[in-house]
Structures are given as structure tokens and as C-alpha cells.
Amino acid sequence: MANSLFEEKLYSNDFLVTTEVGPPKGADVSETIHHIDLLKDKVDAINITDHQSSVMRFPSLGGCLLVKERGGEPIFQVTCRDRNRLALQADFLLAYSRGINNVLCLTGDSIDVGDHKEAKPVFDLDSVQLLKMIRTMESGTDIEGNELKGAPKFCVGASVHPEADFIEPQLVKFEKKVAAGAQFFQTQGIFDLENLRRFMQYASQFNVKILAGIIVLASAGMARYMNKSVPGIIVSQAIIDELAGVEKGKGLQKGIEIAVRSIKTIREENLCHGVHIMAVGNEGIVPEILEAAELVGMSP
């Protein structure tokens, strides 16, 4: 039996669609709930980010609880930046006990890129060790071998960076993540589909599902900023030029068009198993993208 609705979808042959919602900076969750309601029936699962870019926010686990409350399917994003192995295990127990059964295991951005630059970086574990830890917990013990009263079961994912400018060590890490139990991968933002094609030629030998990360850019300025300041993002010059070519105020529309074009190509060419749409702050436009990419009505 599948551990979650999303896992069930993962092993169907359907084209998978996930998206993400960034929790609020503050205790007012009304906008987050609005976004969850807007998206929950249109996608296979909603990722809740974990202090994305090391900016302190409402917690990922709290956001996942909201998704559950609203009847959606959450993916609990977990980074190793802020919690040691005790806190991470405890959060997995809490998540599982509340029916949050999908997790995405990440190392986490560096503290230096965020808004609490003087905080102590934890990184007690890395993403591969985090994946292994979950599999250990599923076997009925904590990572020290102590018995758990009630073992959790998760559908476990990780990330991979097909556009990295030095790909070999990233692929080594990808294989370690597969070996550590990752079932699905949501990639870093893909801006040049040629990179995805090349990556999939390699990755298709592994029995894992790959969802291509689609970042919706709102302007050429945002693209340049991301290249400069957001870890792991490499927006191609062709995309920047395309965004720069539109009149002021039309950037987001162009960004949506680019995202839709990528999604359609990925689906038509069957490049990978699905897409993960990241609208970074513009969650409200995701339904429009789904509709334009003819992905509406595929879920649940």
C-alpha cells in the first residue's frame, strides 16, 4: 500500500504536477490558506518550503498542517540547516502522526544568504544522511538503534541540479541520494531544456521519478538577481534576453509564457515524469500556468 496519495500518483504513469507555497513572514496565515485553497485540487502535491533562502518564516511543518486541514496533499520540505538529528527525527514523528507523509530532504541554503546572518548553522546531517535517517526510522528505530513506539512511513524525495556548471560531483551526489532511498526528485529550476534532456539520458537508468523544476520569473531584473544571489540558480542568457525584451510591467506575463512553454515541451517530448512549479511569491498565478499548459483537470 502506498504511504501517501502522492506516492500512489508517483507510481501511476500520470504526468506529475507539484508546486510550492512559501509560508508567511509572520503569524498571519490567511494568504497562505488562500494559496493552498487555490492550488490543492489542481496539483498532485504542494511543497511547503523550509525557511527558503535561509529567511526566517512560519515553519514548513506548520504550513503542511494547513495543507492537511484544507484537504490538500503536502510535501514537507526539510533542511539540515536549523535542526540537529534529535530535532529532525522529532519533526518526522510529528509529521507522520499528523498524516504528513511526503518529505523532501534538502541540505539547506547557507545561513549567509538569508536574513539571520549571525545565526549558528547546524548542518548536523547532510541531505544524504537525512534520507538514510528516514529509512532507518521506518525500520522501527531511531538512528541510535533505540526502538520507536510506532515507526513512521514516508514517501521520500530529494533535489538534484541538472544545470550545475560542474555536473559530475552533482551526479555522484544524486546517486548517493538514490542509494539512500530517494523515490522522487524535484530538480532545481531548469532554464535550458537541453540540460534536462542530457540529465534524463543519464538519470533514466535509475528507478526514480524526476520532476523538472520550473521557476516562474517576473522580470529580467529578477533573473539577474537570482543568478547573482540565489544558490543554485542559473538562468540562461536566452531567457534573460527574452524577459528584457518586453515592455515594463509585462515581465510576469512573459515569465508565465516561458514557464508554460517549458512545461508543454517537457510533457510533449516526455522528457521526465512531471514538473514542480515554483512561482516564488506569485503563487496566485500557478492556476493560470496550469490552464495554459493544459494541465488542468489532471488531478486529483
Partner: protein, 227 residues
């Protein structure tokens, strides 16, 4: 060696404010090599403090200076007995170990840190020092081609690079090489890439109980030991 940076001058002035007679104490080993607290820096701090006092027209302080071969060793600290007879405070330009050794040796005398002890590292070029060792107590340089991921990766992770590396640099500091890119390339050159493919389990932080003590095996045996 241990590498440090001199504290901001204004901070030093603030620290010495309550004291009259100040001994500025240099250290002849690491602090001399890293230009933070050797004889030359002692003279520089001494002159700067005197000048600042003259300028402000306040004559509270008198200064003396001395540089020990090593501040972190009781044997050398014994040489200070005459120097400290008439002082109210020691401004140590030794590393944090030197400052604490002084505090332990002279319980009645206040001691102030004149430098910020930064790291264990090496001279990269003249006037440039790079951190190389985090004293983690569990050396794994054999697995990583002699390049330390604990020290040189900002996240200290063990199973390969994060996705934040760009142009071979670190996401946390674009002037800093990504340790994992260096490790991968060197392992490749050495024909040892299988080492990066291995899974490395979570670190054992019990290897670094703080504070740590090492007892020389020879000394232990000679003394007969007590278990």
C-alpha cells in the same frame, strides 16, 4: 598555526579605560607570524595608545611593553613576574589560549584580549592567511584527498557538494572555492574518485567534547597512571 586579527583600536581603548598601568604583551610564535601580536604589533599598539591618549589630553594610563616567546606555556609566563609587579592589567596580543593561560597563572591580575583569535590556518601569500583545520578530532583527510570539507565547506557536509556551488565557488562567499569541487578534482587526478562515491554517516560530535584534554601516552606510562 593559530591566526588572529587585531581588535579594533576603539575596542582596545574601551577595554583599558578602567585601568591605569597597562602592560602590552606580545607573543613570539603564531601571533608574530600572522602579524597580529608579535613584537612589531606590540610597539604599534603601544605607540597608537600613547598617541591617542596625548591627543585626548587625558593622562590616565601609563604603558609598558614586553613580548614573550610563548604565552600559552607556564614556563614562559614565569618570566613575567618582574614585568607585572607594577601593572594593573595585561593587554595580551596572544591568542585566546595565551589570554587564558595568563588568567590561570596570575589569578589576581586582570587580562584583556587584544586580538580576535580567528582560526587554524596557513600563510597563503604574504599578508594572506587561510583557514585549514577545524580541530574536529576526527581527521578524514584521507577520504577527501587532503582537502578538509569540515573546514572549507561552509556547511561542513560529508557526502559531496550542495547545489549552491557556481563557477567553482561557494554560495556563502563567492570569493571562496567550493571545497567539494576541489575535492572532486583532486580525487579525480589521484584516480581515487571511488572515495567520493562512498556514503559517509553523520559525524561523531563526541570526538570533540569541550573542553578537551590530551594526555601524552609517554607521560602517562611513566607516571604509572591511575586508570
Amino acid at each position: 598555526m593559530i591566526v588572529a586579527e587585531q581588535k579594533p583600536f576603539e575596542e582596545i581603548r574601551r577595554m583599558i579605560a578602567p585601568y591605569g598601568r597597562v602592560l602590552i604583551l606580545g607573543c613570539g610564535t603564531c601571533m608574530t607570524v600572522c602579524d597580529a601580536g608579535g613584537e612589531r604589533e606590540v610597539l604599534f599598539v603601544h605607540n597608537a595608545l600613547r598617541l591617542a591618549q596625548a591627543k585626548s589630553g587625558d593622562g590616565t594610563h601609563t604603558f609598558s611593553e614586553y613580548t614573550l616567546k610563548r604565552q600559552c606555556d607556564p614556563e614562559f609566563l614565569d618570566l613575567l613576574v618582574d614585568e607585572i609587579a607594577d601593572v594593573d592589567v595585561i593587554l595580551s596580543l596572544g591568542c585566546g589560549i595565551g589570554v587564558q593561560a595568563i588568567a590561570e597563572q596570575f589569578p589576581e591580575l586582570p587580562v584583556l584580549p587584544g586580538v580576535n583569535t580567528s582560526f587554524m590556518g596557513m600563510t597563503k601569500e604574504s599578508g594572506v592567511w587561510d583557514e585549514r583545520c577545524a580541530a574536529c578530532g576526527d581527521c578524514r583527510l584521507e577520504e577527501t584527498a587532503g582537502i578538509c570539507p569540515i573546514t572549507r565547506c561552509t556547511k561542513g557536509i560529508l557526502n559531496g557538494p550542495c547545489a549552491g556551488t557556481k563557477n567553482g565557488k561557494c554560495e556563502a562567499n563567492k570569493d571562496m572555492d567550493c571545497a567539494w569541487v576541489l575535492i572532486y578534482k583532486r580525487l579525480e587526478r589521484l584516480g581515487q574518485l571511488e572515495k567520493i562515491r562512498r556514503y559517509y554517516p553523520p559525524r561523531n560530535f563526541r570526538a570533540i567534547p569541550r573542553p578537551k584534554r590530551i594526555i601524552s601516552k609517554a607521560g602517562f606510562d611513566e607516571g604509572g597512571g591511575d586508570g
